[in-house]
């Protein structure tokens, strides 16, 4: 038998039934649920008189619609409140392994709370009605985002109908330069292969640079796999994975943990495994990334300039650049460092974990100044209640507040602007989130995707700056 990739192994170990055409029923170990994509699924089950197959696979939270301040006053928007209350009622009626409702101390973004509670474990299949479910692949999981019908399907059958995709390896080797982070790796990969580069593939991220990343960093990279067009991103398990999980609330304990860990260590691609496509990056050449357009692949480095559409020969691409520049309100050839911003958002399931907040706070302290006068708001939104308390115990909140940042309650917040946190038309934002699509952070809002360190520096200086100079 030839070697298998990590994806092959995860796939093979979950096939319940395969049709002749290759469509397979895949068993689902963990189902993460939030308020936006679950109500119709629960209703569908009720209308059909069906019961959830295994409620102890469900871990739920309210995150997309929840406000990030004045929690005592509840949720003002009635439509948002209704969605959150509907989730409360659905969980109360049918049960779950765990539910972290609005205002719970462990509430947070669904892709942050899963891993930090040990609800995401190596070797699992993880699904959620949300495209950034790819995040959990950092734990050597097969994790995919699904639609509402599929949410209902998983609830009713504990299975998902899937076709196997191809294997792609993104290998990053070498030492990341000072000031460059997992976010810069993710954006550099997308810049290289494009937003359709991973279509039809499951991406495994490997190489010495990925091995050297913390679990937080690996989650950031896998989170963005979906922006590269792949339905799943993953990283092989190793001692970093095992160490992260030890002692987490839902991780196995004692002797059972050792037994599990022994299995987890086998979740790597075999040395002779064949990938359909291999992409290689040299980490030493990665520079801090900044997007300039309305798609994550429209990215350059802090040393770069806004592109000139006239220099693009491909007419479709030229038109794409022109349209993006009009929307973004940018002039060709402007130096990235000269782009002034109005708002700063540090948060989202890409970059709201403790390591992200530490990096941002470090930059703030190092620069030793307050948020630039031109900045309307610079907000830090921790990914979860646990992240928030950890940050507060380290005094990071004081660093932010003293410098003029707003320290908010956890949630998705301005990543997609379903609550009150949003950009007004024309406002320009340095954001640590994952999508810079038109209107994503508010109608007419302009998003530049960057790392937490770059976002913090931009808040202090009022425009993009090269954080490598802080060495």
């Amino acid at each position: 038998m030839t070697g298998r990739t990590l994806y092959d192994k995860l796939w093979d170990s979950h096939v319940v039934h395969a049709e002749e055409d290759g469509t397979a029923l895949i068993y689902i170990d963990r189902h993460l649920v939030h308020e936006v994509t679950s109500p119709q699924a629960y209703e569908g089950l009720r209308l059909a008189g069906r019961k959830p197959w295994r409620t102890d696979s469900i871990v739920a939270t309210a995150d997309h619609n929840t406000p990030t301040r004045d929690w005592a006053q509840g949720i003002a928007d009635p439509v948002s409140r209704m969605q959150v209350e509907t989730l409360d009622a659905n969980i109360a009626a049918s049960g779950a392994k765990a539910y972290f409702p609005f205002r719970d101390t462990r509430q947070g973004i669904v892709h942050v709370i899963g891993p930090e509670n040990g609800a995401t474990l190596p070797g699992m299949t993880v699904v959620c009605g949300d495209s950034h479910t790819s995040t959990h692949g950092a734990f050597a999981c097969l994790s995919t985002g699904i639609g509402t019908s599929e949410v209902e399907h998983v609830m009713a059958t504990q299975c998902l109908l899937q076709n196997k995709t191809k294997n792609m390896l993104v290998r990053v080797d070498g030492q990341l330069p000072f000031g460059c982070t997992a976010k810069d790796i993710a954006l550099a990969v997308i810049g290289k292969i494009g937003t359709a580069g991973g279509t039809g593939h499951a991406i495994e991220f490997g190489g010495s640079t990925i091995r050297a990343l913390s679990m937080e960093g690996r989650m950031t990279v896998c989170n963005m796999a979906i922006e590269a067009g792949a339905r799943a991103g993953m990283v092989a398990a190793d001692e970093t994975t095992v160490a992260y999980l030890r002692g987490r609330p839902f991780a196995p304990k004692g002797e059972m943990f050792e037994r599990a860990a022994a299995y987890w260590r086998t979740l790597v691609s075999d040395p002779d495994a064949k990938f359909d496509r291999v992409v290689e990056l040299n980490a030493g050449e990665i520079k801090p990334q900044v997007t300039w357009g309305t798609s994550p692949e429209m990215v350059t480095t802090i040393e770069g300039r806004v592109p000139d559409p006239d220099k693009e020969r491909d007419p479709a691409r030229r038109e794409g650049i022109e349209r993006a520049l009009v929307y973004m309100g940018l002039t060709p050839d402007t130096a990235i460092k000269d782009i002034r911003i109005d708002k700063v958002f540090i948060g989202s399931c890409t970059n709201s974990r403790i390591e992200d907040l530490r990096a941002a706070a470090w930059v703030v302290q190092r620069l030793g100044k307050r948020v630039a006068p031109g900045i309307k708001v610079a907000m830090v939104v921790p990914g979860s209640g646990l992240v928030k308390r950890q940050a507060e115990s380290e005094g990071l909140d004081k660093v932010f507040v003293a410098a003029g940042f707003e320290w908010r309650e956890p949630g998705c917040s301005m990543c997609l602007a379903m609550n009150d946190d949003r950009l007004e038309p024309g406002e320009r934002c340095a954001s640590t989130s994952n999508r810079n699509f038109e209107g994503r952070q508010g109608t007419g809002g302009r998003t530049h995707l960057v790392s937490p360190a770059m976002a913090a520096a931009a808040a202090i200086e009022g425009h993009f700056v090269d954080v490598r100079q802080l060495a």
């Binding site: 319940v16 068993y27 170990d29 109500p39 119709q40 059909a48 197959w53 969605q83 399907h153 504990q158």
Partner: protein, 212 residues
């Protein structure tokens, strides 16, 4: 899922090409927590003269007299005639939900958008393809004869016209089976319930930490 075997129903003609999912159900209604109740907002922007918002009493809104579904003679229609590329746009299932909730059981068009086409089958709605020339005849006859009804005979794959003429149509055998039996994806998967249970037991024995 509702099964579809033989259906006879009043025909309504929607004579526009490229009707997209946003036209079928505008996006302000997608914040709903329900899968039902979209019927009153089907084709909302064309059907009413005012701008529709969630929570309005739709029975009190001013109807657009020029919109075909508002004509008295098409009230209670369950077969929709449409033009090419019906259902283009997003993948959201709200579009078939809205058509179904309104009371349509079958949409006949010369072509459909892919995802919408698949979503219809998932929701018990039959999307049926006929040639442009046959569509022209149906549009003409539905306009000419008030109370024009068609019978869609799925087992025989025939559209039966009031004059007795029968037209054959194609349908994927697997999807036909699902519709005839009222199987949805969940129903189909549950046919393997024993296999799922066996798989689950083996998994529980091997990796007990995943359960409980």
């Amino acid at each position: 899922m509702k099964s579809f075997v033989v259906h006879t129903g009043l025909v309504a003609p929607l004579d526009r090409a490229n009707v997209d999912t946003d036209a079928i159900i505008p996006k302000q209604f997608l914040k709903s927590i329900k899968r039902s109740g979209f019927g009153p907002n089907l084709f909302d922007a064309w059907r009413y003269l005012d701008k529709g918002e969630p929570g309005m009493d739709n029975t009190r809104r001013p109807l657009n007299p020029d919109f075909v579904l508002n004509a008295e003679r098409y009230r209670g229609a369950s077969v929709l005639l449409a033009r090419k590329n019906f259902g283009c746009g997003s993948s959201r299932e709200h579009a078939p939900w809205a058509l179904d909730d309104y009371g349509f059981r079958c949409v006949i068009a010369p072509s459909f958008a892919d995802i919408f086409f698949a979503n219809c089958f998932k929701n018990g709605l039959l999307p049926l393809v006929l040639t442009e020339s046959k569509m022209d005849r149906l549009f003409a006859e539905a306009a000419a004869f008030p109370g024009y009804r068609l019978t869609i005979d799925l087992p025989r794959q025939r559209v039966v016209k009031p004059d007795g003429e029968e037209w054959e149509f194609d349908v994927d055998p697997f999807r036909k089976d699902c519709l005839l039996n009222g199987w949805d994806d969940i129903g189909l998967t549950l046919r393997h319930a024993d296999k799922i249970r066996a798989f689950e037991m083996a998994r529980r024995a091997e990796q007990p930490w995943l359960f409980g």
